[in-house]
């Protein structure tokens, strides 16, 4: 089931996805460090790679959803302004969430996971 790009719930949806990603990232890191703590200073930061892939996947999902909203806007120009407002805001929120995901993912590139 795909939500309509003009449904009001589109407005917060992107940031809801972002919140879930953020909680999963933080909780996942805590659990991973508890279950499989790598020795400090160990070379291959497997955990970073794993969380990095997860981050990119989330970002991809957000990008797809944003483009779905944008395409719907182009496809149905005759919608009333309030519907177009919803789709426009929805697309933008997805893009904001995308930027937030990528930015918050940056530390994965530079810091060891469990110290």
């Amino acid at each position: 089931m795909k939500p309509s790009p003009f449904h009001p719930l589109q407005i917060p949806l992107g940031l809801v996805v972002w919140s879930v990603w953020f909680v999963a990232l933080y909780a996942g890191l805590a659990v991973a460090c508890e279950v499989a703590r790598p020795a400090p200073g160990e070379g291959a930061p497997l955990l970073n790679v794993g969380f990095g892939v997860f981050t990119l996947a989330t970002a991809g999902l957000l990008a797809l959803s944003a483009s779905a909203c944008l395409r719907a806007l182009r496809r149905e120009p005759e919608r009333p302004p309030r519907d177009r407002f919803v789709a426009r805001v929805g697309a933008a929120v997805h893009l904001i969430a995308l930027a937030a995901t990528l930015f918050i993912g940056v530390p994965l590139l530079g810091l060891p996971p469990c110290v």
């Binding site: 400090p40 930015f103 530390p107 530079g110 060891p112």
Partner: protein, 221 residues
Amino acid sequence: MVAVPALGACAGPQSILDPAGPAACDAAGLWWGMFAVAVVVLLGVTATWIVGMGRRPPTLEDAREKRVVRRWIVLGGVLLPSSCIVVLLVFGIAAGRRMLPLPRAGEAPLRIDVTARQWRWEVRYGGGAALINELRLPAGRPVDVHVQSLDVIHSFWVPRLGGKIDAIPGRTNVVRLQADAAGEYRGQCAEFCGTRHALMVLRVTAMEAGEFAGWLEAASR
């Protein structure tokens, strides 16, 4: 800026701006960089407001106005803060990484155990030496302070040497400090811990390596 005349007065026994070790130096460096940018932004924004208040511009046609607004929002609202925080995060990650107590090449860091309790510091060394409300360390060598608490939460902090770390019941937290030169420093509990929180002070002495080794041996006996 009322604070500007005070710029010369950065020194002080507990001053963050009078760093005496690598971690504290990093933090102070970050401060001066951020301070400079912040002053420029604050003055710029305030000046724009004041100038804007005095303007009596003609009404623009819609398309033109839209372009002007877009420029303000995109350049000022999005790009200005975004570029600042990207730069800041990159510097921050690098500085933060340097402060981590990671294993290092060369001389291993000295381990010192500090136990906090209402309202004093108990300092122990590997050989059995112990001090109360006083910490001695060798100058020029990194020290890993292992911090614990026996009652409530305290926070171990010697500002001129580096950042603080909380002493929490049930946990041992580690902070890496280093004093570049021998001298007297001052530390103080930074987490509110009850009635005499304000008096929970730690005297810190950095000694020349040889002098320290001698003291430690004597004290361990």
